[in-house]
């Protein structure tokens, strides 16, 4: 491997790199940058809900048009520019080649291109805040006719730019996805059979498979929406003979699997942490993979539970209710196997383990409240209330942030060769866990009591006054939740430069990525590829010389 020893300039090493580890870190930093903007939008939304029409400190009055745009951008940013780059792109890039013993991705140049598409997409989305008419304001779901005709939202340039940015983001994810799938299939090290592949890699690739074959309808749908806004067509406009529900079907055919695209990889990375900090093998590795396969397949046939009150054919309500509730079966199996992995283990509550357990606890609430929304009968009541807001934040926040922090804190030594501060990490976890629940738990009650979401100014309606007190407390807690993230940012950047140097395998993990140097060198392994001889989770084996058997000796 001559390229392993190539001298690299700063530009080719850090900026236009084709090294999967560098690209992974680039995606991580891009996602963290967007998370700051996402947090700012969250702050403005919360301020307007609690203190309508009073100037938000640091911004001023949020007018109704701005509120719509900020709400739209909050969803778009958090899903496509925070969760996707961090959970999917950063860790697929960083982990898959390291865990399967490859030197790089199957297509390193395509991989770099995937990152630069995302940068271009980010620039376009950011610039859409500043064009005349402001950013897109029809909700992150972009329902027409609201999104298709500028007369409803007053947004002119924002909508096409939003669509263009999303198109580039999808192209980026597609290029990445091709790479992840092809890398797993063709680049495994000698001895790395499919049954020795760690769960994080399986879950990352499974999430990508869900993305890959569900995004097509939204691409087609987005082209139609673009034509409606720019070319005067009426695919979605009833006045021109079109069908607004068509968009909802195309959007949610992608939109629902997209939740799993984010949540499944997060769970996979949590599965990597559980055995290490309980010194036990994964319980039911093959059953986990079988359940994963079933849920990835079922993800394609549950989308219309987002549309129970949309006016679609009511005959569809029953089959989609049943299918949606059915998908909780494989996910429950995965949860129970996670518990079984922990049972009887020597549990060490280090920071990555805290996040992993926090992920399981909070996501479980998200999953269980989902059953109320999967069943048409109860969804008709809960739909478009704060119950929904609480529910999906209990799924996406744990996946993106609890899962994300679990992964970042666990692999930080391998990424940067240094350790994070443990005390700061514990404070960050405790505060985030408490404050997150403090923000979203009360919203279940607010929603169940009937407060509708997506209202720019609740003070217009006297009957919503009863929620003013709760909403105001929630906003205060939300601001504290955002401020608590400063602990992480300080810890991250200080440790990046001045943290304690890390050894190769600080947690005594068995998987392959921990057997090479920290940080892993260009080319990942020395002259020889690792020869894999053991499974990924051989911990506390009776009769073994140490309490774990590495997958290979490097």
């Amino acid at each position: 491997m001559s390229d392993m020893t190539h001298p690299q300039s700063f530009l080719s090493k850090y900026i236009f790199s084709t090294d999967h580890k560098t690209i992974g870190k680039q995606f991580l930093f891009l996602g963290m940058f967007w998370a700051l903007i996402g947090a700012a939008t969250a702050y403005l939304i919360r301020w307007q809900i609690a203190h309508p029409n009073t100037p938000a400190p640091g911004f001023g009055i949020v007018n109704f048009g701005q509120y719509n745009a900020i709400l739209t951008m909050h969803g778009t940013i958090m899903v496509f520019y925070v969760a996707m780059p961090i959970i999917v792109a950063a860790f697929s890039n960083f982990l898959i080649p390291l865990q399967i013993g490859a030197r790089d991705m199957a297509f390193p140049k395509l991989n770099a291109l995937s990152f630069w598409f995302m940068v271009l997409s980010s620039v376009i989305l950011l610039s859409s805040f500043f064009v005349p008419g402001g950013a897109a304001a029809a909700g992150w779901t972009g329902y027409p006719p609201l999104s298709a005709d500028p007369k409803y939202t007053g947004v002119t340039w924002g909508t096409p730019l939003w669509l263009l940015a999303l198109a580039l983001a999808f192209a980026s994810s597609t290029m990445g996805g091709i790479n992840y799938l092809a890398t797993l299939i063709t680049q495994r090290a000698p001895g790395m059979t499919y049954s020795k592949v760690p769960l994080a890699t399986w879950f990352l690739v499974a999430g990508t498979a869900d993305f890959f074959f569900s995004v097509g309808p939204l691409v087609a749908g987005a082209v139609m929406l673009l034509m409606d806004t720019l070319a005067g067509t009426g695919f979605y406009l009833p006045a021109k003979g079109g069908e607004p529900l068509l968009w909802q079907h195309l959007f949610w055919f992608f939109g629902h699997p997209e939740v799993y695209v984010i949540f499944v990889p997060a769970f996979g990375m949590v599965f990597e942490i559980l055995p290490v900090f309980s010194r036990k093998a994964i319980y039911g590795y093959k059953l986990i993979l079988a359940s994963l396969a079933v849920s990835v397949a079922l993800a394609y046939v549950v989308w219309a539970h987002h549309m129970f009150i949309s006016g679609m054919n009511p005959k569809l309500a029953m089959p989609f209710s049943v299918l949606t509730i059915l998908i909780s079966v494989p996910f429950s199996i995965i949860f129970f196997l996670a518990f079984a992995t922990l049972k009887g283990g020597k549990i060490k509550l280090e920071v990555p383990m805290l996040w992993a357990l926090g992920f399981i606890a909070t996501f479980l609430i998200g999953g269980l409240t989902g059953i109320f929304l999967g069943s048409a009968a109860s969804d008709i009541y809960f739909h478009d209330t704060y119950f929904i807001v609480a529910h999906f934040h209990y799924t996406l926040f744990p996946a993106t942030f609890f899962g994300g922090f679990a992964a970042v804190t666990y692999w930080f030594p391998k990424m940067f060769g240094r350790r994070l501060n443990e005390v700061a990490g514990r404070w960050h976890f405790a505060l985030t866990f408490l404050l997150f629940n403090g923000v979203f738990w009360p919203l279940f009650r607010v929603g169940a009591a009937g407060m509708p979401r997506r209202i720019a100014d609740p003070s217009q309606y006297a009957w919503l006054d009863q929620f003013k007190g709760v909403q105001s407390v929630v906003t205060t807690v939300a601001v504290l939740l955002i401020l608590a993230q400063l602990i992480f940012l300080f810890n991250f950047f200080i440790s990046l430069f001045w943290g304690k140097k890390s050894e190769k395998n600080p947690y005594h993990s068995a998987t392959l990525e921990w057997q090479t140097d920290s940080p892993a060198p260009h080319g990942n392994w020395g002259e020889q590829l690792p020869q894999v001889t053991a499974g990924p989770y051989e911990y506390s084996k009776p009769g073994a010389e140490s309490d774990f058997t590495p997958q290979a000796r490097v």
Binding site: I185, F213, V215, M224, G232, T233, L246, L250, L529
Partner: protein, 192 residues
Amino acid sequence: MSSNNQVLSGSHPGEAGRLAMWFLIGSEIVIFGAAVVSYLLLRLNRPEWVVDMARLNANAGMLNTLVLLTSSFSMALAHAAAEDRDQAKVAKRLGLTLLLAAIFLCVKGWEYSAKFHHGIFPSTNVFWSFYFLMTGLHALHVVIGMIAITVLWVRASRGTLAPNLNRVELTGLYWHLVDIVWIFLFPMLYLS
């Protein structure tokens, strides 16, 4: 692949490329599939579209079907020549494929301009929106395919394609997708 004890990093570039192309084709099929299903679902409730469909030139569509099918055949022949590592033959057959693709686009362009001339635009009604959406997306794929084929054709005629002859197969796979999409569009738009 099942006995992956022999799998070494980077030892199967052709295999990874073929896999990647199949994944790309899979995702393209979902894109076109969604457009086709959307069209069909609307079409079922709109018998009046028959009037618009009758205004399409079925002969032009038929001619284009033949042209594109033939181009798929010449593409397959180019692949066969690539297997024989005969770059001169590859170049000749890719050239023929390019010519046929260009004829397809000319006929399509002529059809479009005839429609515009008769005052028919994508915004005329939802049928025409779908017609221009699907044939336009397809034409875009023809153009992308032509760019890829041109690159290969130039290198094959210079005799410098040798290390990358497997790209003829990959481009061929893509080109057959372009062909198959049209096989669906033609009867659905012109004949039903």
